[in-house]
């Protein structure tokens, strides 16, 4: 089975078809995807700024990470859930879209980033100080800005005829 065939099969499921053809559900789910970007993406941004030493200096970065962990996970699930719904409903045109592919690659790198800095920054009882903290914050900001930009650019790709 080729990727094209798998994509087409997913897009052709009853729920993906219904979503694609719905005038209301599609923009509603996209709005939820964007609102979670606003609310929870902002929590990621503030954590990154704390890691870079740019805000909340009198509270240890470790505390900020610990307190926001559950909220960021919650937001991530909503954001990814809506994203999966949106992409599945138009997967025929999404999977060959280079911006979509770059976005997926960057999301994978976010996972690598989380594992790489788990012991030094993000894990429970991790120190979250010094160079690893700054590097983790800067990389996270870069990765998420890239993901957001590629997400927007998906809409501007025209499949070659």
């Amino acid at each position: 089975m080729t990727i094209a065939a798998i994509s087409h099969w997913i897009q052709s499921t009853a729920w993906a078809t219904a979503l694609r053809e719905s005038e209301l559900m599609y923009p509603l789910i996209m709005s939820a995807h964007m609102a979670s970007l606003g609310i929870f993406g902002g929590l990621i941004a503030m954590t990154d700024l704390r890691l870079l030493g740019l805000t909340m200096l009198s509270t240890p970065a470790q505390e900020v990470i610990a307190r926001l962990r559950v909220w960021k996970r919650f937001g991530f699930v909503i954001m990814i859930g809506c994203g999966i719904l949106l992409a599945s409903s138009k997967l025929d045109s999404y999977y060959p879209n280079p911006y979509f592919q770059i976005k997926m690659l960057l999301l994978g790198l976010v996972g690598v980033h989380a594992v790489m800095f788990h012991r030094s920054v993000y894990g429970k009882n991790a120190p979250a100080t010094g160079l690893p903290a700054k590097a983790a914050g800067a990389l996270s900001l870069l990765l998420w800005t890239g993901i957001l930009s590629m997400g927007r650019w998906i809409a501007y790709y025209e499949t070659p005829k």
């Binding site: 709005s31 964007m34 902002g42 929590l43 941004a45 700024l49 909340m56 505390e63 909220w71 927007r152």
Partner: protein
Amino acid sequence: MFLAYDPATNPLNTNEWAFPLCECFHLAALAFSIGTISMVDLRLLGAGVTERSAAQLMRDTEVWTLLGLTVVIGSGLAIFSSDPIHYLRNGAFQFKMAGLLVAMIYNYTIHRGIARGNRSAAVTVTAACVSLALWASLVFAGVFIGFI
């Protein structure tokens, strides 16, 4: 504005990179502005960074909120300039502008006052919910501009 303005000459309509780039700035700044405000809201709900008071968190975040709002409105104006008449006639856009005005005033008056003062949980929870609902409704309206 009865000057001869032809949107076709706007760089946003002549350069294929300019418009999506403006949208990316708009979205990134949206995350900064709404995200920093929602950090205060989380605290008002009694969650989030509880080591700091809501007043402290507001001071920590206000410069980033302001920076985010400036970029979000700046990039929004640029996007608007690409086709003003189309946007002015769009119901979702009209709702968004009215909502933006309400959200901004609310944020810098009532919300600010409650984050600073020692209010009961009922007041802070209500203030946070109103704030989250206001800002989220702007995002929904923004997306719907493109669908109606």
